[in-house]
């Protein structure tokens, strides 16, 4: 990738031979060994690596589960139960895959929040950010289709409701829905195509991840100060510094993941999905998986017509819009300062945004009636106002704190602050 300043020196004869033919070891060395990373990266920056591992875990468990799964409405449910009961370690593989989806989203939401907090989407990293949003969309599609495969009640009705979104579009909606379903309702053709696509999409995610990492290596990481790398003292080599830090964070993450797999395997799922799909009976409360709840709350918040747009279409547009707005985030934020550490007002609104997103998630799990509807409307309003009003305006009116001249200066100031030697100079913000 950055072979013009590669420090790779093949030592063995074979190393030299392969280097002049397929310089894969050089690429690995330049990308994961000598690659310089800012010296002040904190644990929030370890989630990229964690996500890579989670992607691999999902691919591996998914491929082996597909060896036992049968995508046919008559036997899909039984085939999953056969995995749970008869296949060697089948229960482990399935629980890993099912909880892995949840933990994939835990990690990706932290990763996104980190990017927003430290302004990682700002120039020159707009493409890097947009690729990330594409990955998020692909993940959502993959997770949704994966949830249909066990062919339980939630699978069936989730598929019915989500493909129903498309009927909101006047005229073209129903033909699109029928195209997606391969029929007039969710049925065997739907299950088969969802299985096919659920198997395909992760490889597309992998492709976009490669582009994402490529774009990252062109611009380099941001860091908690938001100040670009200026000299060699600002960086450390990826190995061992970032490697060991990522590995430590990963092992802690896996510890929590393992706790859920082995001791709370069904906590993040929904009990109704242990009832086989019944096209004649809808469960009392249908809710999506937790990671879609905020978007679900936004969908249901639009209960009123907006001019020619009826509430159904309005809800669908708001929901898609809540993701679409992320694509233009780099151009909505007018502030010159990257990191929230030096933006006191942005920091406040950011944490409010996080709390609001969690609140939306809680609302998404509640019935769409009574007090929950106006609450969801207020929350939805804040969600969009954050991007469309607060970010553009705040950049113009906010007075940022003084930025350090370099990463090294910030690190040394923090060191001094921790030592108690220069209490006045060390802002608590730089503790990161």
């Amino acid at each position: 990738m950055s072979s013009d300043h590669s420090t790779y020196q093949p030592t063995s004869g074979f190393g030299k031979w392969i280097d002049s033919r397929l310089p894969l070891p050089r690429m690995v060395h330049d990308s994961f060994v000598s690659y310089p990373v800012p010296r002040n990266l904190n644990y929030a920056y370890t989630f990229g690596g964690i996500l890579m591992v989670m992607l691999v875990v999902q691919l591996l468990t998914g491929i082996v589960l597909a060896m036992h799964y049968a995508a046919d409405t008559a036997i899909a449910f039984q085939s999953v139960e056969k995995i749970m009961r008869d296949v060697n370690s089948g229960w482990l593989l399935r629980y890993m895959h099912a909880n892995g989806a949840s933990f994939f989203f835990v990690a990706v939401y932290i990763h996104i929040a980190r990017g927003m907090y430290y302004g990682s989407y700002k120039a020159p990293r707009e493409v890097l950010w947009i690729l990330g949003v594409v990955i998020l969309l692909l993940m959502m599609a993959t997770a949704f289709m994966g949830y249909v495969l066990p062919w339980g009640q939630m699978s069936f009705w989730g598929a019915t409701v989500i493909t129903g979104f498309f009927t909101a579009f006047p005229g073209i909606g129903e033909p699109i829905q029928q195209l997606l379903l391969g029929g007039f309702a969710v049925d065997n053709p739907t299950l088969n195509r969802f299985f096919s696509l659920h198997y395909l999409l992760p490889f597309m995610i992998t492709g976009v991840v490669i582009l994402h990492v490529w774009a990252l290596h062109v611009t380099g990481q941001t860091n908690p100060t938001g100040v670009e790398v200026k000299s060699k003292t600002d960086t450390v080599p990826f190995t061992p510094y970032a490697t060991v830090k990522d590995a430590l964070a990963l092992s802690i993450f896996l510890l929590v993941f393992a706790y859920f797999i082995f001791f709370m395997p069904n906590f993040l799922g929904h009990a109704d999905n242990y009832i086989p799909a019944d096209p004649l009976k809808t469960p009392a409360h249908i809710v999506p998986e937790w990671y879609f709840l905020p978007f679900y709350a936004i969908l249901r918040a639009i209960t009123f017509d907006i001019g020619p747009i009826d509430s159904k279409l309005g809800g669908v547009l708001a929901m898609f819009g809540s993701i679409a707005v992320l694509f233009v985030l780099p151009w909505l934020d007018t502030s010159k300062v990257r990191s929230a550490v030096y933006r006191p007002w942005y920091k406040l609104f950011f944490w409010l945004f996080v709390a609001n997103a969690i609140f939306l998630g809680w609302l998404g799990a509640k019935p769409a009636e009574g007090i929950y509807t106006p609450l969801a409307q207020i929350s939805t309003l804040y969600y969009f106002a954050f991007f469309l009003v607060i970010l553009p305006v705040l950049g113009l009116i906010e007075t940022p704190k003084r930025l350090p001249n370099s990463i090294t200066e910030a690190v040394l100031a923090k060191k001094a602050g921790n030592g108690g030697a220069a209490p006045a100079a060390a802002s608590p913000e730089t503790r990161g």
Binding site: W91, I261, F262, F263, A271, A284, W362, P367, I378
Partner: protein
């Protein structure tokens, strides 16, 4: 902007607090009673005696209406039965097999590899014989019933490892039949039960009474004991690998804890010479 915020936040808080009481009137009317199950918690194991009693309750009291078609007789070895005992149990059942050499389907006695046969030939027959409500299959019942715990209880449940919603629910339902309180209309053919998840009354009448099933290990022959035993049995039926899962999990957690500690020391050592 600050002022606006100052007015919105308390208003929102007030709404949330109000919301809690506004939605108390859902089903079930009563929260399931919580039983101290032997299989709860990270080191919980099934009580085999209890599972055997639960199987007896299922066979004698429930299986006339409720199928359990994902459970094979061979898997009952987990309950502590010998192969011969299980063969004898399986021999009580007839299953359909075929076609034979003449192309005809025939019935034969069940063998270990067979699953519990359904009491009805199909869903429609099951519904027809039960006033339109087909009795649910029992294979996954203990995982297919979850009574909402609400915030913040569901957060605490993560830390206490609460997975017993299903058996608590089944137990509560079986012991919860009672006379409807004054003013509650129960439709014909329905039976009042404040623990039922989807209404105030259900189509199933109280299915078991004291002394209906004989126990040979001296356990009390009461509805309460039957309900506990069959709930525990259904938990096993829904999650037969639970003990193996928890044991494996313990090893994995120990390993990851050691590995994380080693990585922590390694990380400290690597960063010792570098301010960051």
């Amino acid at each position: 902007m600050k002022k606006l915020l100052a007015s919105i936040v308390p208003a929102a808080m007030a709404l949330v607090i109000g919301a809690g009481s506004a939605f108390a009137a859902g089903y079930p009317i009563n929260k399931p009673r919580e039983i101290d199950w032997s299989f709860a918690g990270p080191f919980g194991t099934f009580d085999k005696g209890q599972l055997q009693r639960g199987l007896k309750v299922y066979v004698e009291a429930c299986s006339a209406c409720h199928s359990m078609n994902l459970v094979a007789f061979r898997t009952l070895e987990d309950l502590g039965y010998s192969e011969d005992q299980l063969k004898a149990l399986a021999a009580n059942y007839e299953v359909e097999d075929g076609p034979n050499g003449e192309g005809e389907m025939f019935t034969r006695t069940a063998v270990l590899s067979d699953h519990f046969p359904s009491p009805f030939p199909n869903q429609e027959a099951a519904a027809y014989a039960n006033n339109g409500a087909a009795p649910p299959d029992f294979s996954l019942l203990a995982k297919a019933r979850y009574v909402e715990r609400g915030f913040p209880q569901f957060v605490f449940d993560i830390f206490t490892g609460y997975n017993e919603s299903g058996p608590n629910y089944i137990y509560s339902l079986l012991t919860g039949y009672q006379e409807p309180p004054a003013g509650v209309e129960v439709p014909d053919g329905a039976h009042y039960n404040p623990y039922f998840i989807a209404g105030s009354a259900l189509a199933m009448a109280q299915p078991i009474y004291d002394e209906q099933v004989a126990y040979d290990d001296g356990s009390p022959e009461t509805v309460d004991q039957y309900a506990k035993d069959v709930s525990a049995f259904l938990m096993w039926a829904a999650e037969p690998h639970m003990e193996e899962r928890k044991q494996t999990g313990f090893m994995v957690i120990i390993f990851l804890a050691i590995f994380a500690s080693l990585l922590f020391l390694t990380k400290k050592s690597v960063f010792a010479s570098k301010e960051h």
